[in-house]
Every structure is written in structure tokens, then in C-alpha cells.
């Protein structure tokens, strides 16, 4: 057997973005030894791409804000499909998590009285997003990274070794979780630099691997987003929920082609930017859906008044939840009112002085100037929907982040439930902090309660090693080796065209047939060269995860015969109350160890606790719930008495 480097830890965190790093901090502060394993360099995780801000009901900009309002906004944004307990914990704890970042050294933009400034964002009733210009994600990842360094400095002072309690394994990819019986026993992977194999023996693993956007062609996501955590959890026997819900961010760049999909922050609209079609018309007023009627401004004058003072008018429909805005842009382009490159216009130039734009949106200014030669202080931006975020993920216990597999935990984008069918902007960074901490806590408690540590068997290591080496063997017989780059490009095109923003049954079936074909071709995948820093081999291994996760997305999309949030079926355009309380859970079946088959099962959504249900007017709930579910609502019982 090839040589395998061995490490032993209490907790292994896979992924070094916001949720992973927050989990590390928590487990370390509870006295455990933690490894954090990341595919990239330390501090490069996808969290840096978050721009607009981190939602937390601190009430600094409008003192009427509270966790209850944040909770209600989150449920509305997700079309009431959210796991209510996660939405509750998130709304209650996000302010504390943001304040904690200041003690780590974060420098958010300030209000006049020196507190953290908060900006408007889609679906949030009050200005709620703590931010640093348009680079909030960078501030958060750097702050957490620097906090970890400071904990390592404390460990060095106490124990003589920076790595005594936290060690960062950078540019190291995990390909397999290893179990002892039913429970997690460790994780197996390889160093990207050398290709050498490594096993982490640990009774608890926290998955914090982010999303799946690299399976789509037009995406704001980086190569890292190959759904590793989703796939690892599935193969370890845990389930995924809500995989049909993919967020297409309404404003990605559309030109030049090579940058198509790169994110344009919602902060542009939060700070006053407006969407226009080729006729120069602000079209969002025509797209306020029935469920939000009455909550949004109906004239330009009212929308502009709201920007000045959000207590005296209703909010602008430019800031409807992202799913609504994406569909609206799609419809405008389809109706022939799009921009030359198939998007619509986003105008900030006519709304703000050049100095103010450069100050509030510096990254956007540079991004457009350097990549598209567009000066956004003078001209409109061309924007269109881009695959941005997966609402679906590993089904977890809300309080502890525990997945179905004992010893497995998940947090952040790779977990599912919190955002329901559509995530509100700004709720991702806060999600990372709240549930990263909770998963770290859950893993720590689990490890402390164990009476004996699980062990990693040699047989499991041999299987994992063989699987990782397979791409070098190439196809059996005389078949032509499959180029991983070609296979990847085809999968991206298929998911984009057939399981994208607008879906139909026949197209999803066509996608599923193609995925089957790709799975067969995957068996012939061939990697040239050696194991040292070989991107062709890395992609071949990541493709295994992308194929499995893409099948989940397609199968769940086919099963859900309604439209809701990030799942729009042209053949079932209505939202259906029966489907609101139905979750689709994906699991693996059969005995294909490479890319297993996926089964989709209906599960009942746990009903919301009554005091939380009472936060909403009966009339609003009636738009989402079945009659039977609302029988116990106080509004209903009053009606009767």
C-alpha cells in the first residue's frame, strides 16, 4: 500500500471559509484539538466573494428592528419553507456574532454615533447589513483568520507550539469520510502540492465546504464550489434537503463573455441603484408578486422617498427578494427589452455623485473599469442572473449542526434548511457565524461524550487510496480516455441550460439522461502527468462530487411540481401550499461506490412553534399555508369566538 501521512485530532473541520473558521474557534475555545483542512490557501475561501454585508438585527440604523422582524423577513424570503428553528436561532444570535467580530479586530463602517452602520438590502424591512464598503466578506474572512492566528499565538506562549491546538492544512483536499461502523472515524485526502495521501483520524468532522455552483456554466462561484461536503455527506449515509432550490443572483456581469457571471453586489441597489430595461423604464414595479402586494412601493416617487426615509414610504421593488428580481430580468430579456448582451441595465451613475460611488462601491467601480472598461460613475452596468448559492444542503439538527451520520456536522452553505426556498442577501455571512459556532459546539459536546474513540481500518484506507488513484489508470481496454475539462464543461452547459433558472419537466429529464451518460463516461476519465500539483487530476476527483450533486438537483427539481423561490417550473408556475410543508430528501442507493444512484423521498416539514406563527398576520399566512395548518393560529381562534 502507498504511504499515508497520519494525523489525529478531536475535531476535523473541512473548509476554511466563514463557517469552518468559526467552528474551529469554538471547538478550540472548548479545549479541543482541531485541524482545519482547506483546498485553497488560508484566507482565500469563497467567503471573500461576499460583498454587500452581514445581516443582524442590531437596530443601529432603525431602532424598530428586532430579531422577530429579522426572523419574519427570513421566512418570507424563503417562502415559508425554511426550517423555522434555524431561522429563529439565526435571527436571535447574529447580532452577538457580529459584535464578537469587533473584539477580534473587525472594522465595519460606522454610524454617526460610532456604532456599526447598517445598509438596506433585498427583503429586509430595515437597514440591517453590517458592512465594509462592498468587501464585507473579505473583512469577515480576514478577521476570523487573524483570530485563529491570535489563538495560535496564545498556544505558542503556553505550550511552545503555534500548532498545539489548531493546525491549518492548506491546499489539502478531502476525498472520503471514513467510518467505524455507523460513526465517523476520520477523513482521507491528498496534499495538492505533492499528491501525497493523508488521513485525519477524528471522532467528529464538521463539513463547511460551501456550495455547488461550479456545476453551472454561468456562476459567481469559484472552482472550489464542487459540492464536496454535499457529496461526502451523501456517501457517508446522511441526507440532503432542498436541493432543487438554487439561487440565481439577479445581477451578475454579462459582458465580456469571459467574466460572465461575476457578481455585482446587491449593495448597488441597496444604496439606491435601479434596474432599467432597454426602453429606459424601471420595470420592477410591474413584477411585484401577489404574496408581496402592499409591501412594496408602487411608484418611482414612493420608492425614492423610501430610500431617504424608510419609515415614511414602502420599499422599492428593486429590492424584492433575489428570486423575484431574477425572474423579472429573465422576463424582460425574453420580451425583447434586454441590453445588447442579453441582460438589463443597472444604473447607479444617475443616482449618486461619482465620489460617493467610489467610496461606497469601490470594488464594483474597479471591477467594471478593469474587466469591462465601463466607468460606473458615468454609464449603466449590464447585468443578468448568475448561479450564486445553493439553498439545499445537508439535513442537520438546527441546534447542533449534527447530520444523520453520528460524528458528522455541517454548517454554512453546505447545510440545508435555514434559507428555505430562497436566501435573503446578507443572511449568508450571518448564517456562517451563527451555525459555524453551533456546529463547533455540537462537535465538541459529541466528542466529550464519547466513551471510546472510533478507529480507521486499513481496509477503508486501501479503498480510499484506490479510488483517488483511479483517474491515473484511465479507461479499461481500448476506450479513449475522457478529458476531465471537457466532461466538466459539458456538465456545466447541461445544468445551465436544462436545470437553470426556468425549468420544465421534459428538460430536466433530458438533463438526467445526460448526467447518466456523464457517469458512464466518468469511468473512462484519464489524468496525465504525476501527482504533484496536477489540476487535471484534481478536477477529475472533484467531478465525482459534481456528478452526484447535480443528479440530486435534477431529481429534486423534477419531483417538485410547483414553483417557489429558487425553483421555477414553467410547467407548474403556481406555488402550492401542500408543497410548502413537504421537503425532498436525497439519499444514495445501490452499490455503485464511484457515483451512487440518488433517491428522492418526501418528508414532512416540522410545523412552526405557535408563538412564532403568531408573529404573522393570518392573512399573510393564508397565502402560503393550507387551511388545516392554520387551525390553531390565534387570529383564527379569535374569528371563531
Amino acid at each position: 500500500m502507498v504511504e499515508i501521512e497520519r494525523h489525529s485530532y478531536d475535531v476535523v473541520v473541512i473548509g476554511a471559509g466563514g463557517s469552518g473558521l468559526r467552528a474551529v474557534i469554538e471547538a478550540r475555545q472548548r479545549g479541543l484539538r482541531v485541524a482545519v483542512v482547506t483546498k485553497s490557501l488560508f484566507g482565500k475561501a469563497h467567503t471573500v466573494m461576499a460583498e454587500g454585508g452581514c445581516a443582524a438585527a442590531m437596530g443601529n440604523a432603525n431602532s424598530k428592528d428586532s430579531w422577530q422582524v429579522h426572523f419574519a423577513d427570513t421566512m418570507r424570503g424563503g417562502k415559508f419553507l425554511n426550517n423555522w428553528r434555524m431561522a429563529e436561532l439565526h435571527a436571535q444570535e447574529s447580532a452577538e456574532r457580529v459584535w464578537e467580530l469587533e473584539t477580534y479586530g473587525a472594522l465595519f463602517d460606522r454610524t454617526k454615533d460610532g456604532r456599526i452602520s447598517q445598509r438596506n438590502f433585498g427583503g429586509h424591512t430595515y437597514p440591517r447589513l453590517a458592512h465594509v464598503g462592498d468587501r464585507t466578506g473579505l473583512e469577515i474572512i480576514r478577521t476570523l483568520q487573524q483570530k485563529i492566528v491570535s489563538l495560535q499565538q496564545e498556544d505558542k506562549a503556553e505550550l511552545g507550539d503555534y500548532d498545539a491546538r489548531i493546525k491549518v492544512f492548506a491546499e489539502c483536499s478531502i476525498t472520503e469520510l471514513i467510518k467505524d461502523g455507523d460513526a465517523i472515524a476520520g477523513a482521507f485526502g491528498y496534499w495538492r502540492e505533492t499528491g501525497k495521501f493523508v488521513v485525519f483520524e477524528a471522532p467528529a468532522v464538521v463539513l463547511a465546504t460551501g456550495g455547488i455552483g461550479k456545476s453551472f456554466k454561468v456562476s459567481s462561484n469559484s472552482w472550489e464550489y464542487s459540492g464536496d461536503g454535499h457529496a461526502l455527506a451523501l456517501r457517508a449515509g446522511s441526507s440532503l434537503i432542498n436541493m432543487e432550490f438554487i439561487q440565481f443572483h439577479p445581477t451578475g456581469m454579462v459582458w465580456p463573455l469571459s467574466v460572465k457571471g461575476i457578481l455585482v453586489t446587491e449593495g448597488v441597489r441597496g444604496d439606491g441603484g435601479v434596474l432599467k430595461n432597454s426602453e429606459g423604464k424601471r420595470f420592477m414595479f410591474n413584477y411585484i408578486p401577489p404574496v408581496f402586494k402592499g409591501q412594496y412601493a408602487e411608484t418611482e416617487a414612493e420608492a425614492d422617498q423610501w430610500l431617504k426615509d424608510n419609515d415614511s414610504a414602502r420599499r422599492t421593488p428593486d429590492l424584492l427578494p433575489r428570486d423575484e428580481v431574477s425572474r423579472a430580468i429573465n422576463a424582460e430579456v425574453k420580451a425583447g427589452r434586454g441590453s445588447p448582451h442579453g441582460g438589463v441595465y443597472l444604473d447607479i451613475a444617475s443616482r449618486m455623485t461619482p465620489e460617493e460611488i467610489k467610496k461606497r462601491l469601490p470594488s464594483m467601480y474597479h471591477q467594471f473599469l478593469e474587466l469591462a472598461e465601463v466607468d460606473i460613475t458615468k454609464d449603466e452596468m449590464e447585468v443578468g442572473p448568475t448561479c450564486h448559492y445553493v439553498m439545499g444542503g445537508i439535513e442537520v439538527d438546527p441546534d447542533t449542526g449534527a447530520a444523520a451520520t453520528p460524528g458528522l456536522f455541517a454548517a454554512g452553505e453546505c447545510s440545508g434548511g435555514m434559507h428555505g426556498s430562497n436566501r435573503l442577501g446578507g443572511n449568508s455571512l450571518s448564517d456562517l457565524l451563527v451555525f459555524g459556532r453551533r456546529a463547533g459546539l455540537g462537535a465538541s459536546d459529541y466528542v466529550r461524550a464519547l466513551s471510546k474513540r472510533p478507529t480507521v481500518s486499513d481496509a477503508a484506507l486501501e479503498t480510499a487510496t484506490a479510488m483517488a488513484m483511479e483517474p491515473f489508470d484511465g479507461p479499461e481496454g481500448t476506450a479513449k480516455p475522457e478529458n476531465p475539462y471537457t466532461l466538466h464543461a459539458e456538465l456545466q452547459q447541461t445544468m445551465n441550460d436544462l436545470v437553470g433558472i426556468i425549468r420544465t419537466g421534459p428538460e430536466i429529464q433530458e438533463a438526467l439522461a445526460k448526467i447518466e451518460e456523464y457517469k458512464v463516461r466518468y469511468r473512462n476519465i484519464g489524468s496525465e502527468g504525476g501527482r504533484a500539483f496536477n489540476p487535471g487530476w484534481h478536477l477529475a476527483l472533484d467531478m465525482r462530487n459534481m456528478l452526484l450533486v447535480s443528479e440530486c438537483v435534477a431529481k429534486a427539481s423534477l419531483a417538485r411540481t410547483e414553483s417557489r423561490g429558487g425553483h421555477t417550473r414553467d410547467d407548474y408556475p403556481k406555488m402550492d401550499s401542500e408543497w410548502r410543508r413537504t421537503l425532498l430528501a436525497c439519499r444514495t442507493v445501490g452499490d455503485d461506490a464511484v457515483v451512487p444512484e440518488v433517491s428522492v423521498t418526501k418528508e414532512l416539514q416540522p410545523p412552526m412553534r405557535e408563538d412564532l406563527l403568531a408573529q404573522f398576520e393570518l392573512e399573510e399566512l393564508g397565502k402560503y399555508y393550507t387551511d388545516e395548518e392554520l387551525a390553531a393560529h390565534p387570529g383564527r381562534t379569535e374569528e371563531r369566538s
Binding site: Y104, W223, P362, E370, G536
Partner: protein, 250 residues
């Protein structure tokens, strides 16, 4: 519009390597990283390159393009003549791992040597109050995406491996200035900047500022003010006299 670009890419590892010539298609609006990716997908599947966001936000795809340290994702092909041969090489100040990927661990070691943010002990979370004007100075430095181009270009270490031990480099001198200017940091960082991080090695040629993709004024706004603070302390005659009279060593 498509044309075929002439590309010269360094291939090899820590045992050595050489420049190889390639011809690669280029489409309208593309950046160097797009062309490197096309080269990888069509001609050199094992070409090692480090990248993540392809949007100038993560600072992973640092390399030297025609000898100048740059982010590959933010360097448009249209800035070169179509007939020109474009040379892409790994960062010179760091050891090569493979092809365009270098070992940047030097930077992570230096990061650990800078004492962390130290807020007042009695200040509770949620009680922090700072004025925008006071946080802006440090905020400029926190725009840093840690691409390490400044570390690569700085002549103190670029051709002088022996200086690496005593010199933290522009990125981390700036980090010290950032903490020193943080309105709530309680540590005095002037002596450590001079003695532990090698502030004195910098002779303000501003190469770091020139290559910074975030356009941070590293020299003018971080390093020079830090040098001035150190100088105030060191050569202040009153402090000097006080040190002698009261037998203070630091």
C-alpha cells in the same frame, strides 16, 4: 473576434525548468487567466496554476507577466499587442512548487509574528464605539487581498534571501501600521515594527504601492507614517533625556 496569442510559460519544479512556447486562442475581453485555463484544458492538462475567484477578490492567481508581478485574472489580454509574446512566470521571491505555483508559506510565518489586536480588557462586545474617520485609515489597509505581489516585488527580499529572516515585507509592515492606527488597539507597536519586523530595511522606493491590485498606498499611508512614529520616539531629545535621567531602557 478571436486571434492566436503567443504565450511563453515557465514549466518545471524545484529541480529546475524552462520557458515553453504555446499558441493559444484568445476571445474578446479575456484576461491572462482565461488563456492559461484554455491552455490547460486543451494542451497541458497538468499545468499547475493557483486561482480561485477570477474576480480580483481572493489574491490567489499572482504571477509575473512579462516580468511584472500581477494578478492573472485582472490582466486583460487587450493590454498587449496581438503579435507580442506574453511571458508568464511564477513569483520570483518565493520557492517554486510547480509551474506557476510557488510556496508562499513565508508570508504565513510572518503573519504569526505580529501580535494580535489587543482591545481594552473591560470593553464588552456591542460596546465598541469608533468614528468613521478614525477607522478609515486602517480600513484602507484591510482592503489587502494577500496576493503577496508587494512581498514579491520588494527588493529587500526579492534578490536577498538572507533578509527574509529580519524583514516582514510590505504586507506585514502595513498590517502593523493597521493595528497601530486601530482606534481601540492598546499595544505600542513602534519598537516591534523597527526591531522585530525590519521597518528600517524599507527605503521607500514604492515598488509595493505600484504593484498593489487594490491600489493601497502602502508606502505613503502605512510605511512612511510608521517610520515617522518610530523616528519621533527614537530621536525625540526629551524622550532621550528622560530615558537617561530615569534609567528607562525602553
Amino acid at each position: 473576434m478571436t486571434y492566436e496569442a503567443k504565450l511563453r510559460v515557465w514549466r518545471g519544479d524545484d529541480d529546475g525548468g524552462d520557458l515553453r512556447d504555446f499558441a493559444v486562442d484568445v476571445n474578446d475581453g479575456e484576461v491572462v487567466l482565461d488563456v492559461i485555463h484554455r491552455l490547460q484544458a486543451e494542451q497541458a492538462p497538468d499545468l499547475a496554476v493557483r486561482w480561485n475567484c477570477k474576480a480580483g477578490k481572493c489574491g490567489s492567481c499572482s504571477a509575473e507577466i512579462n516580468g511584472r508581478p500581477r494578478l492573472m485574472c485582472m490582466t486583460r489580454m487587450s493590454t498587449f499587442d496581438e503579435a507580442e509574446t506574453i511571458t508568464v512566470t511564477p513569483l520570483r521571491a518565493f520557492p517554486v512548487i510547480r509551474d506557476l505555483v510557488t510556496d508562499v508559506s513565508f508570508n504565513y510565518e510572518k503573519a504569526r509574528e505580529i501580535p494580535a489586536f489587543a482591545p481594552p480588557k473591560d470593553l464588552q462586545p456591542g460596546e465598541y464605539r469608533m468614528d468613521q474617520i478614525d477607522v478609515e485609515r486602517s480600513q484602507e489597509f484591510r482592503k489587502c487581498i494577500e496576493c503577496f505581489l508587494c512581498q514579491d516585488v520588494c527588493h529587500v527580499v526579492r534578490d536577498h534571501e538572507e533578509n527574509k529572516k529580519a524583514f516582514a515585507g510590505p504586507r506585514f509592515l502595513m498590517r502593523t501600521a493597521e493595528l497601530d492606527m486601530h482606534p481601540l488597539d492598546t499595544l505600542d507597536r513602534k519598537d516591534m515594527a523597527q526591531e522585530d519586523l525590519g521597518l528600517g530595511y524599507c527605503n521607500i522606493t514604492k515598488c509595493c504601492t505600484e504593484v498593489c491590485p487594490e491600489h493601497i498606498k502602502i508606502t505613503d499611508n502605512a510605511i512612511i507614517p510608521m517610520k515617522e512614529r518610530v523616528a519621533d520616539r527614537k530621536y525625540d531629545p526629551v524622550v532621550w533625556l528622560g530615558n537617561i535621567l530615569f534609567n528607562r531602557t525602553k
